[in-house]
Amino acid sequence: MAAAALETKSVTKTYSTGGSTVKAVDGVSFSLQRGEFVALVGPSGSGKTTLLAMLAALLNPTSGAIAIDGQDLGTMSEKQKARFRRRRIGFTFQANNLVSYLTALQNVELLLRLNNERDAAGRERARELLVLLGLEEHLHKLPRQLSGGQQQRVAIARSLINQPTLVLADEPTASLDTERAFQVVETLAALVHEQNRAGIMVTHDLRLVDYADRVIHMLDGHVDRIISPKDDLSCLADPDTCRMVPMDVLGFEEAQTGESVS
């Protein structure tokens, strides 16, 4: 049986601050298959981004193990991790996604350059991806000439150009309006499914989890529950989480809880 695209086993990350120890991520275990798109949700400080950083081989867990395509990240040197990232992992960040002085096409091709794969086929693939994402007219535009949504779509194209096993998106819609946010996530999810990648998207916006196959809810560093987006999301509305998710999505009014929304 083929290895899972991603497998985490009791992943823990602790920080020492001023004599006390804080568990940012606490014994997280789950696995992800190719063709699966997962939403990672939870309130601020629940450990989502720290977990994402560890999955991306940017941060070492204090304990536990992470394997992508069966390869244990813990056994790799920093240099090997950098190489692994540019070959097996695709990224979309919240902001500062693109190199400001490269055009949309050059930004996507950058990964090919880094992997020494900028041949005719690679360049054609980059162009096709951007066309697929509706950016045909913007191939040679600089990031500052593109809207926020267009920039995120370029970032999605870049995250897929190296045909990665795992696509990670850290709040890719944070700076977008609702309509564009839906478009971007829909596109990302569709491409993950079509191209048989494994995708994880960190988001605060529960309206976007409809495009995911599973929703992992984190709370205080651990996986609180894993549910289907088809499930009633109000299950996440315990007093702690309720502060962190949009009330309109959960069907709660501020007046009912008496607490503010962040």
């Binding site: 950083a53 540019r86 350059r113």
Partner: protein, 385 residues
């Protein structure tokens, strides 16, 4: 490497206004450094040229003069003693003073160094046109190239010198018999005359005595074996009473103000280079700080540190080289229209050293920013660091 070059050059091209502006700052620093170097060379040459080119290995001073040519007096007897010593090929008296040349049809005069030498002895420069001095009391003169160029005098013409003797201005007309290369002394071009003529023409408190063997300032000594400069210097001091003997370099380094002047200019040059390093370093440091999120993102997607560092180095080198190139060209252009009375000499060695120093300070100044960019954590892409 090709990715680093692509990133570096694309960034320069997309931000060409900013980078060009900064290149111009480097060009201005280059201009400043080259001019200070040329001024140092010009002032230095103006002071030392005659002594530096002197056809002698050692120079003998009166021991109490403390290597001051103006204070030194050496008489005929000592010259003879020096000349007779074993290991000395030849020795010649050299006297230094100043005079003015009357320029034909102009009220202005040209201030010159009047140098008296013994015809055919060490101290007399070789001529590039005409002939050398023949008789010690003859009313003849060799002009150095600068005097000839400024006065338009040629071999066979007559030159009139004005000096002050007693309370009177005295005028002496000499025949130009030769032109030598440039032989500036004390920042003035030179007229070389026989030592007896020099003693008659030079400024003095009273009327000239007309001595057949006048006292001179120093004695230029040629050795049989020029490699024995040090031991022969000691030998001469031991064998001839009350003289101090040094080589040419020590002699010109002890001309009044020479060392101080060179130290001042070297310090200015050092500061200009230091400022250059700080400016270049500051520019790239600010640029790197502005790019921290982007560098973090590049590292997060797997860009190796070597590519990030190489791209920065390529940019520093490209900007510095362009700046130095433009600065050197502007310097050459400005030098062509610079007033002739400013002692600026563009010499290949000092110019190359100045340019080399600026090319070096670019990467040195940029080291901090390279180090800074290497320390950017890829986690900054996720807002963690």
């Amino acid at each position: 490497m090709s990715t680093a070059i692509h990133l570096a050059l694309t960034e320069i091209w997309r931000n060409r206004g900013r980078f060009l502006l900064f290149s111009m700052v480097v060009a201005l620093i280059t201009l400043l450094v080259l001019f200070i170097a040329a001024l140092g060379e010009g002032l230095g040459a103006g002071n030392r040229e005659y002594l530096e080119k002197l056809n002698a290995d050692l120079i003998a001073y009166q021991d109490t003069a403390r290597l001051s040519i103006a204070s030194s007096r050496i008489g005929c007897e000592k010259r003879r003693s020096i000349r007779s010593l074993e290991g000395v090929r030849d020795a010649g008296a050299v006297g230094f003073s100043s005079a003015s040349i009357l320029l034909a049809g102009e009220p202005e005069t040209l201030d010159i160094s009047l140098i008296g030498v013994e015809p055919g002895k060490p101290g007399e420069p070789p001529v590039v046109r005409g002939r050398g001095l023949l008789r010690s009391g003859a009313d003849e003169a060799i002009l150095d190239r600068t005097v000839a160029a400024v006065t338009n005098l040629r071999v066979g013409d007559r030159v009139t010198l004005r000096t002050t003797q007693g309370n009177e201005n005295e005028f002496y007309t000499l025949e130009v018999i030769g032109i030598s290369d440039s032989r500036k002394y004390s920042l003035r071009p030179s007229v070389i005359v026989p030592i007896v003529t020099w003693d008659k023409v030079r400024p003095q408190a009273g009327k000239p005595t007309g001595e057949a063997n006048p006292a001179c300032n120093v004695v230029a000594v040629q050795l049989e074996d020029p490699s024995e400069v040090e031991s022969m210097g000691q030998f001469l001091e031991a064998r001839v009473d009350r003289i101090e003997v040094v080589d040419r370099q020590t002699a010109y380094e002890n001309t009044p103000g020479y060392s101080e002047q060179q130290a001042t200019l070297n310090t200015q040059n050092g500061f200009a280079l230091l400022i250059g390093a700080l400016v270049i370093g500051g520019f790239f440091q600010i640029q790197t700080m502005q790019k921290v999120p982007q560098i973090g993102m590049l590292k997060a997607i797997g860009t190796p540190n070597s590519i990030v560092a190489t791209a920065t180095i390529i940019q520093i080198i490209a900007i510095t080289v362009l700046g130095v190139l433009v600065g050197s060209l502007v310097t050459m252009g400005v030098a062509l229209v610079f007033p002739a009375n400013i002692p600026i000499v563009f010499e290949l060695r000092s110019g190359a050293m100045a340019v080399g120093s600026i090319l070096l300070i670019g990467p040195i100044g940029g080291l901090v920013s390279i180090r800074y960019s290497l320390r950017v954590e890829p986690l900054t892409a996720l807002g963690l660091d």
